[in-house]
């Protein structure tokens, strides 16, 4: 499903959570939504899922306005952290409700996912650990097969084997049933290879929206003797750097053309890629 966000503003009292945010997703891909705490990720996803109304601006899914649009409800799914479930009832009740809500629900797939995560239908949701509730949310999100499926830090409390089982299941199911998936996460190293495109927001605004491989190709670590690194990076966008004795490594953002690469080789400088996590850290600013 196509997603168009234009000049989106959401305010809570005096706090501006989203500040004229604009971007478009073509749909049919796995998107990563990255941002620091308080950057507005959850607010954005809540607006896309019609859980919350925009203060101003427009949000359209497949060209339709989202809020109080009944026709879209069953086609858009947001799994929040620690699941989309209420405290009442058993896992079975939660699955029953999801099946009622989701026209593309796959009950056999839901059963196999329950087994994968070691969940049983009789478990009371209230008695579940955080990780189990997250896993139940993942089951509901994946088996629902909603044309727009969003996971908002849905891995919280899940241990590494459970998280990787989630990533593998998500990837396999996406390939079998292509749809628009948005994953919001802080575990960038673990998940970023799944993203076809990345949307990074900061302080309620768009920082970057780019194809993952293109974004990665924009980051280059330049390593070598400090004064030569400085000379080489003069005039380039330097996101940050570290030094060890007389050796320096600078993170450069932007395309480095063949001529420059040649000069780097002549100067004995090493050029290497930067991991998504490091790019994210340096694009979204200081430790505050």
């Amino acid at each position: 499903m196509r997603v168009d966000v234009e000049d989106l503003v959401v305010t809570y009292g005096e706090v501006t959570a989203l500040d004229r945010l604009s971007f478009s997703l073509e749909g049919g891909k796995i998107y990563g939504l990255l941002g620091r705490n308080g950057s507005g990720k959850t607010t954005l996803l809540s607006v896309l899922a019609a859980f919350r109304k925009e203060s101003s601006g427009t949000v359209r899914i497949d060209g339709e306005p989202v809020f109080e649009n009944e026709g879209l409800t069953s086609r858009v799914s947001l799994i929040r952290d620690a699941g989309e479930t209420t405290d009442l009832g058993t896992a079975e009740d939660a699955l029953y409700f999801a099946e009622w809500l989701r026209p593309h629900w796959d009950a056999d797939y839901a059963r196999s996912l329950m087994d994968l995560f070691g969940l049983t239908r009789k478990m009371s949701v209230k008695g579940m650990s955080k990780g189990m509730r997250s896993a139940l949310g993942v089951v509901i999100g994946l088996a629902g097969r909603a044309p727009l499926t969003m996971f908002d830090e849905s891995y919280l409390g899940m241990d590494p084997p459970a998280r990787y089982a989630f990533y593998d299941a998500l990837l396999a199911d996406y390939m079998e049933h292509p749809r628009t998936i948005i994953l919001s996460t802080h575990l960038i190293e673990e998940v970023s290879s799944l993203f076809e495109e990345v949307v990074i927001i900061g302080r309620g605004r768009l920082v970057v929206h780019e194809e993952t491989q293109t974004l990665l190709s924009r980051g280059t670590a330049v390593t070598g003797p400090a004064e030569r690194v400085d000379a080489f990076t003069d005039g380039l966008t330097v996101l940050g750097g570290t030094s060890l004795g007389s050796t320096k490594s600078a993170m450069v953002y932007g395309e480095i053309d063949e001529a420059r690469r040649g000069r780097a080789a002549e100067a004995g400088l090493e050029l290497g890629p930067i991991a998504m996590q490091d790019l994210f850290i340096h694009l979204t600013g200081d430790a505050r």
Binding site: K29, L171, S193, Q213, L216, P273
Partner: protein, 119 residues
């Protein structure tokens, strides 16, 4: 030619080339699908497709519409020729430079090469 610091799609492309060179993959043999590569490496299928696209452009693979990707019949010969061209610059020159840097006489290096050749 193998480098952990290069993008994942280039690593996949390099691995396929290595398989072609070693004849683990032969001419006109079908390679695994984009989705199989994506699942195996836990990467987005578009990223795996990028590796295939690169190999098609380089003439290592060819596409049969609706069926999949296959190894070009002359891929191995072409890769061998290409690697021969860069062999001295990529392998021998750095080895000689390393030998000089750590004080191994070139004569000893040549002796070793002759010894390995004779095995």
């Amino acid at each position: 030619m193998f480098d952990d610091r290069s993008p994942i799609y280039r690593q996949i492309a390099d691995r396929i080339k290595a398989d072609v060179l070693s004849e683990a993959l032969r001419g006109d043999e079908q390679v695994m699908s984009t989705n199989q590569y994506a699942a195996y490496y836990r990467i987005n299928p578009a990223t795996a497709a990028k590796a295939f696209q690169q190999l098609v452009e380089e003439g290592v693979l060819y596409k049969k519409r609706g069926i999949g990707m296959f190894v070009s019949p002359d891929a191995r010969d072409a890769l061998r020729a290409k690697h021969r061209e860069s062999f001295f610059a990529d392998v021998v020159d750095p080895m000689v430079a390393e030998a000089k840097a750590i004080g191994i006489p070139i004569g000893e290096v040549i002796g070793r090469i002759t010894e390995l050749e004779g095995r």
